[in-house]
Amino acid sequence: MYAALWRVLPGPWWVRLLIVLVLVAAVLYGLLFYVFPWVSQFVNPQEVTVTLPAAPTGAPGS
């Protein structure tokens, strides 16, 4: 998979390296700022409010 990607990329090795680094940076940015915050609302069990189980004062998941 990664070997194939390397072969597909144009230019000498340092141009390819540069492209790969840019790609990695872009993927990291997407993960850190969009994917992870979105995932976090499902997996992260942080409850900070006091609520009665029957009558939550906030919205579900507060």
């Binding site: 850190l32 995932v39 609302q41 006091v50």
Partner: protein, 242 residues
């Protein structure tokens, strides 16, 4: 190129991403959001100051005979209307949490609309700053910029300052308590006291306890000390660290 090889690479990539998620959740995310929160709070605070500088309304003119201003300069606390869900209305300053600590406060305590994207949430139906009764707040203790991370480090008498467009409400930290998640009595006008009319203004801050868990809640209580109108400038309580 073998199929097994591709599957292996996909699995390795997935593993790296899961590890990255853990790093983000426990460390990098807090760096990002923590800085963001403080920048947002400082910006809001500056905006209010700018608005006031542009159009200074010296509403409660201090008595000319009292030009030797007592310190802190105080005035009767104005009580603002309750904010809507997710509506920003104040900035929290806690000197003990650092001089840069400035976290925006908004109405509601839902994670989706207030606690995750903004910072500190105000329990709907509880009192507003300076009002007799209980001004109750919630915020994350871990993750999402962790506004209440050091809530257990507060010292008795430490300042908890709520800045609004009108000025600064100074509360003094009194005590900590650990309760079960369903003990909503901490939100009563007089916390934990049923059917007692409130003559004093309290602040109640709830967060999770133990850290990274949800079995209990940590609750910090404070008592209202004074209101400093914007015309009097920043109160001394913002500087002193107890």
């Amino acid at each position: 190129m073998s199929v097994i090889g591709v599957i292996g690479e996909v699995l390795i990539t997935a593993g790296v991403i899961v590890l990255l998620y853990v790093v983000w959740q426990l460390w990098v995310g807090d760096l990002i959001y923590g800085a963001e929160r403080n920048a947002e709070g400082a910006e809001l605070s500056q905006e209010w100051q700018q608005q006031w500088n542009d159009n200074p309304v010296v509403a409660p003119t201090p008595d000319p005979t009292e030009t030797v201003a007592p310190d802190p300069v105080t005035a009767p606390a104005p009580v603002m209307a309750e904010p809507g869900d997710g509506e920003k209305f104040a900035v929290m300053h806690i000197p003990r949490f650092g001089p840069d600590y400035a976290v925006t406060m908004a109405g509601g305590v839902s994670r989706a609309r207030t606690l995750d994207p903004i910072g500190i949430g105000h329990y709907p139906g509880t009192r507003m700053p300076g009002e007799a009764g209980n001004f109750a707040l919630a915020a994350h203790r871990t993750t999402w910029g962790k506004p209440f991370n050091r809530i257990a480090d507060l010292h008795v008498g430490g300042a908890i300052v709520v800045e609004t467009e009108a000025g600064w409400y100074t509360y003094r930290f009194r005590t900590l308590e650990y309760v079960r998640p369903d003990e909503v009595e901490v939100l009563l006008p007089v916390p934990q006291a049923m059917d007692v009319p409130a003559g004093t203004a309290y602040i109640t801050m709830t967060s999770c306890s133990p850290m990274y868990a949800m079995t209990e809640r940590i609750v910090a209580y404070g008592v209202f000390e004074s209101f400093t109108p914007r015309s009097a400038g920043e109160p001394a309580s913002l500087q002193a660290v107890v």
